[in-house]
């Protein structure tokens, strides 16, 4: 049996989510269509804002409930084969956080509807805005955790997700087994796909000896990493 755990789940206020500047295409456009495209973007942004339902949550694993090894992590009753990039980043953690965030399924329904209607530009914008909000939601939960850690004089690692840094996306099944069914409204498919699609899961660590290191994408040679390729 898994040990009894406490789970923290939040409904995230839209105003707490900040979209990165790069979402707004400001660097891309300088021709006569730029102004029009920005207007179209603003229109879609408002639509997406009106339908997303951001949620975030996490479970905390205390000292003794997990251990970090050279190329794997034991957490609860699960063994994450998370590879060295992740284990090195987390190795000094005193607490391990397993988190999930999602913006719900309405945005992807909107994308499908727009694309099917031949409104490619709006559909594309809706998709990238929804993705940006999902990332922002993950940043939000990371900040909640890091702020809590700071009060205790602890540092927080970057967040790591199955599918990145050599950590097989299939391991998402193990991660979700550490959380209640339907946590933050997210279900996992047989192929380890999160539904709704606009969801992120992962782990991060906090501790007094943690040194927060940026992602090492610049020196990574894994050609099939999504972060590297997208």
């Amino acid at each position: 049996m898994q040990p009894q755990k406490q789970y923290n789940e939040f409904i995230v206020a839209l105003e707490d989510l900040k979209l990165p500047e790069s979402t707004f295409l400001t660097e891309l456009l300088d021709d006569s269509m730029a102004e029009h495209i920005q207007e179209e973007f603003a229109e879609v942004l408002n639509k997406v804002k009106g339908i997303i339902q951001p949620r975030a949550g996490y479970a905390v694993f205390h000292p003794g409930e997990f251990s970090i090894h050279d190329s794997y992590i034991l957490c609860g009753l699960e063994k994450f084969n998370s590879k060295k990039i992740v284990t090195r980043a987390l190795e000094r953690s005193d607490y391990l956080y397993v988190f999930v965030v999602s913006i719900g399924g309405e945005a992807e329904k909107l994308v499908k509807k727009l694309m099917a209607a031949g409104e490619y530009l709006h559909g594309y914008f809706a998709d990238i805005i929804a993705s940006a909000y999902t990332e922002s939601c993950a940043a939000w939960v990371e900040k909640i955790i890091s702020d809590r850690a700071a009060v205790a004089g602890e540092e927080c690692t970057m967040r790591y997700s199955p599918g990145y840094c050599g950590w097989d996306v299939e391991e998402q099944k193990k991660l979700f087994s550490l959380l209640p069914d339907g946590f933050c409204g997210v279900q996992l498919s047989k192929s380890a796909l999160m539904i709704p699609l606009k969801s992120i899961s992962g782990i991060l660590g906090t501790g007094k000896s943690v040194v927060r290191e940026e992602y090492q994408c610049g020196i990574c040679e894994m050609n099939d990493c999504l972060r590297y390729k997208v």
Partner: protein, 226 residues
């Protein structure tokens, strides 16, 4: 006549749908795709020429600029919408076989995967290049892909996946297609894919660029397969 078709192509390229379109600013108040296609039809220009030398020509220009990283995807999408406005006016001529497309391409996201934005964008590019696109949607089983490729006498099948777990499901679909319909070209794409993976599963073509896929199809689809 050529001038009119060139103007249609230019309007597609610039995303100018009609006189009322508020952009591009330097074409405000001028005729757009819909007015020019109407004028071309009224002038008895063959619909096939309007399609090939007007609408598709405009998309070819914009597609090539995209391939060369001179423009970004939103501009291609604006052009695609302009092209569609012209295509709608040509629809009646498809029924009378006064217009033929290059052939049919099946697009699908493989079994287990629900991501479809990449597939949709590829479909948009293919339509813009004059292909009939049959979109099977997401989470499509290999047998459904094969049966639809047969049903539609497809020249090619484009398969998409976004996860390392689901891209493995491409292999069965590729194998089945090659076994059942050896003349059908199988193209694969998606963020986690690579040339080596595509080669390993026996796909005919892989690229990160939809425009490269169009060039491949144009060069590798024989009249018998189209």
């Amino acid at each position: 006549m050529e001038d009119l078709l060139a103007r249609i192509a230019r309007c597609v390229e610039r995303g100018k749908i009609s006189t009322l379109s508020p952009f591009p600013k330097d074409m405000l108040g001028t005729a757009g795709v819909t007015e020019l296609v109407a004028e071309a039809l009224a002038s008895s220009i063959p619909p096939q020429n309007i399609l090939r030398k007007g609408l598709i020509a405009g998309m070819e220009t914009i597609g090539e600029r995209f391939r060369l990283n001179k423009i970004f995807i939103p501009e291609v999408m604006i052009s695609a919408k302009a092209m569609n406005s012209g295509m709608r006016m040509l629809l009646p001529f498809f029924e009378g076989n006064k217009i033929t497309l290059k052939g049919t391409v099946i697009v699908a996201t493989v079994q287990g995967d629900l991501h479809d934005i990449g597939k949709n964008i590829v479909g948009m590019f293919l339509k813009g290049a004059g292909w009939n696109v049959v979109d099977l949607g997401v989470n499509v089983a290999p047998e459904v892909i094969v049966s639809n490729a047969r049903l539609h006498n497809a020249a090619a099948v484009c398969l998409s996946a976004l996860l390392t777990t689901t891209m493995l499901n491409m292999e069965q679909a590729v194998m089945d297609l090659h076994k059942e319909l050896p003349r059908v070209k199988v193209l694969v794409g998606g963020a986690p894919l690579s040339h080596s993976f595509a080669e390993r599963i026996g796909a005919d073509f892989f690229s990160t660029s939809p425009q490269e896929a169009i060039i491949y199809l144009d060069e590798n689809s024989t009249p018998e397969t189209v």
